[in-house]
């Protein structure tokens, strides 16, 4: 009986998850046209308790997406426009001298924009590495230390950073170590003609679509917890490991493209990202366990910023997605 009850609870949790996600997608869909993968990717990152890097040319709705997500989730949202003169304190916050009730002088910490549930770090590569580091430390630790005092950032904490791939002048590309801290790197692509029609219809009419909050903070945390409970069969996990190994040029599993054009393969954090994303995708699909198909789907956004091409690869114009595609095609599914 107990087993049957647990099973029912499991099913109920998954069904509830699907319903919540369905509602969330629906609300986001009121504003965001198309870009389903980017939306799902962003949601995946949020549910994984991690962060996303969005790359795309200006005007594709990156900022709108993040704002819409924040509105639909009824979470605290802040936006930081990264510029070269932006300082870490501008993000984290600063300590100021203030008067207490008795008229005495006290130091008071004024929290920066980082203290929000959803943070949009717009054009993150325009800030100096020092400022980037301040943000990335908070992203990793979910807390900020200022003047020997540590301030925890409220959960869920989700940073969405954007960067423009075209304008490289005056930018500070993120170092590999910092890129690794992003769960996904999502490429925001240009919308199709139909999608453009819809965008124009919605944004040029008299009324802007209104997004209602559909998920509370607690519900989001509950969903994050459920994600962690999704089981993964050994053969799926083994597949993830073999894919990870194949990204390393020195590995015997590495296909030709990897051996020729890859400088560094993905770190174990990459495998964690893949597996966690696969679990979330399984839940999106209403399944109780992650599958190899899920892994295949999430490998691109989870690994594309973790596989670093060598000079020859860059000179040849090889894309990391090509490398990942070959790895996936050459890695056998069953070796258990």
């Amino acid at each position: 009986m107990a087993e049957g009850g647990a099973m029912t609870r499991g099913k109920a949790d998954v069904e509830q998850f699907q319903a919540q996600i369905g509602r969330l997608r629906e609300e986001i869909g009121k504003v965001i046209v198309g870009n389903r993968e980017v939306v799902d990717g962003a949601l995946t990152c949020m549910l994984a308790g991690s962060h996303a890097l969005l790359e795309g040319v200006p005007g594709l709705g990156k900022t709108v997406l993040v704002k819409t997500m924040a509105e639909a989730l009824a979470l605290k949202f802040s936006r930081v426009q990264f510029t070269p003169d932006l300082m870490p304190a501008d993000i984290i916050g600063t300590t100021v001298i203030d008067e207490d009730a008795k008229g005495g002088k006290v130091f008071e910490f004024r929290k920066g924009p980082i203290f929000a549930n959803i943070v949009l770090a717009d054009e993150i590569n325009r800030a100096t590495p020092k400022t980037q580091s301040a943000l990335l430390e908070a992203m990793q630790e979910h807390r900020v230390t200022v003047a020997k005092t540590t301030y925890a950032i409220e959960e869920p904490f989700f940073v969405l950073a954007t960067q423009n791939p075209l304008e490289m002048e005056g930018t500070y590309p993120l170092p590999e170590a910092q890129l690794d801290r992003f769960f996904f790197k999502l490429n925001v692509t240009f919308p199709s003609r139909d999608e453009l029609h819809m965008i124009l219809d919605r944004t040029t009419a008299g009324q802007d679509p209104v997004v209602e909050p559909v998920l509370s903070r607690d519900e989001v945390i509950g969903m994050q917890r459920l994600v962690r409970e999704v089981p993964v069969a050994r053969h799926v996990q083994d597949f993830v490991i073999r894919v990870l190994e194949a990204t390393h040029p020195e590995s015997k599993e590495a296909p030709e493209l990897t051996q020729r054009f890859v400088r560094f393969g993905a770190s174990p954090r990459g495998a964690q990202s893949v597996l966690l994303a696969a679990k979330i995708r399984a839940l999106f699909e209403g399944r109780f366990a992650a599958s190899i198909d899920d892994v295949r789907k999430v490998c691109f956004p989870a690994l594309r910023h973790r596989v670093l091409l060598n000079f020859e690869g860059e000179a040849e114009g090889v894309k990391t997605d090509q490398v990942i595609e070959e790895i996936l095609s050459k890695t056998p599914e069953a070796k258990v």
């Binding site: 099973m7 089981p231 993964v232 053969h235 109780f288």
Partner: protein, 632 residues
Amino acid sequence: MRVTSALDGLVSTLAVSLVAVALVLTLAKVWPGFPRQGVRDVVAGALLAIVAQTIRRSLRRLPKFAGALALDVYHGFSDRLTSALSFAGLPASQRTPLMDAAIDDACQRTDHLSPRKAAPFSWPRDLAAAIGLGAGVAFLALLQVRQTVPLSQVKTIQPVVLSADDIDLFREVGKKLAETDKTPEVLAALQAYNQLVEDLAQKRLDRTEAFRRMHEIEARLMEGRALDAKELEEQLKRRAAALKKSELSRPAAEALEKQDFAKAERELRELAKKLREKPDTLAKAQLERLRDAMKKAAEGQKERLAALEQRREELRQQLLMQKKEGDGGISEEERSLFQKKERELERLDRELESEQRASRKLDRLDRDLEKAAEDLMRELGLSADDLDQGAEDINRIAQEKMSDEEREELRQRLEDLREQLRQEGQGGAQRMARLRRFIRQARGEGQGKRQQSCPPDDPNCKQDEQQQDGEGDEGQQGQKGQGKGDDEGQTFTIGPGGQRILVMGRRPGQGQGQPGEGKGQGQGQGQEPGGSGQDKGGQSAGHGHDPNVAGRPTNPKMGTLDVQAAGIDTGQGASRSEVILGASDRGFKGGAYKKVYTEYRTSAEEQMHRDQIPPGANDHVRRYFDLIRPRE
């Protein structure tokens, strides 16, 4: 899945094996030396590999959830079944609610599973390749490749090169020997000799082979030559001496003594005829003497042989005795005597053997004489028949003796040939050059005819000429200046005592050579004191001109007088030197030359026989005469 895997392995291995077999077959077709066993080994190895791979694939463990994965893939279950199986393998306590839900979910989908479709039988991937390769291998196996069998490389030899003149000489010898009747042994040897000469003429033999063939012919000649001619002569003389004691057999005995076998045969036949037809004219005493003479002639040799045998046996016994006595130690004198006796015994052995050989040859004649002697007193007719038979024996002996002579001549010619080859092989190019020059001179081709003496196929000719000039400096001939003069129209003949006499007007040209050209000529003059007066070179030669070289100018106003004189025939003909000179111009032809040649050659042979000529030069002398021999 296992069957498919096994089949896949089988076909893949088959394809690889077929490639290997095709390679080996190709090798075997194009390379005749490829071992057949190698092909069989490769085919056997390929079969073994196929069987082993098939068994291995059949027994190989499939991935743990290969079936479930196939079902998931086919039905689009997104690993539901595989994951459920994986979770189900865990203890219940370790399973989470989601795992249970995943298992339940998978179970709900098992109703419509189709394993056959999920893992359908599929033809091996390499089947087409294997079939193609199989066809190729079959084609290769049936293909007949034209193989070029490399012929063993023809062994090149360095042939013995004899001059055409020498070859002609040896051919003539062969022809001459073939003119008379021959015993089969001599005939066979002669054929072998002719073949040898032809092979030499065609440059088909190298030195080693030529010597080997000569040795073979000689061995064949010596094989049939069992009789020692000298011993035979001696024994015939002894028989003749015995037969002389009867006046009836004396004419035949005398002929036999003189080795006139034809006459001896004739006389014996005459005697037989007389015995047969005119027995009345013969006195009994005559017949008695004849019988005694024939008997003695027949038995004399037996007695002699017996005496020799007895003497030999006695000597042998003495030696044995001395050897036994001498075991204890003998003096030096005794040892010397012993050795002398040993040598005497050896001599007797040789003599006995020689006598026995000759006796065997005359054995039939002895038997006939003995029988004739026995029959003489009983029946004269029978005795006459025996004498006729004896005459036949003499005829046979005569033939054999003649054959021996021819054999000896052939052997001598072989010896000449061998000596010639030996000389050509020794001394290198310089000696060969000297030899060639000698040949030209011997053939009457003076140095003035140098150009003519170069055979077109003789590469050594030029070198030869250079050698000749060089040797002029050494003063061997001193003919350098003379040669030039000859070229310009001078002709010489041989005068008395070997003098060189200039013959004017025989050829167009200046008629006078350069008066000496340096050292060569001067030295040459010194060695030929009887040489031409034209060559005044001497030690001061090579400078200036004879002021009277052109003589006095002809006075055109001077009148001429035609005088006619009849020739006087002395009946003596041309002088020897004229004959020789004329014959050399005509290629050594003519009866007069033959006569002169024979005379000179005989004289030369006599001189050689008397050891008047150094033995080392004998060959050269013979060669010289061979080269200037009369031609038909």
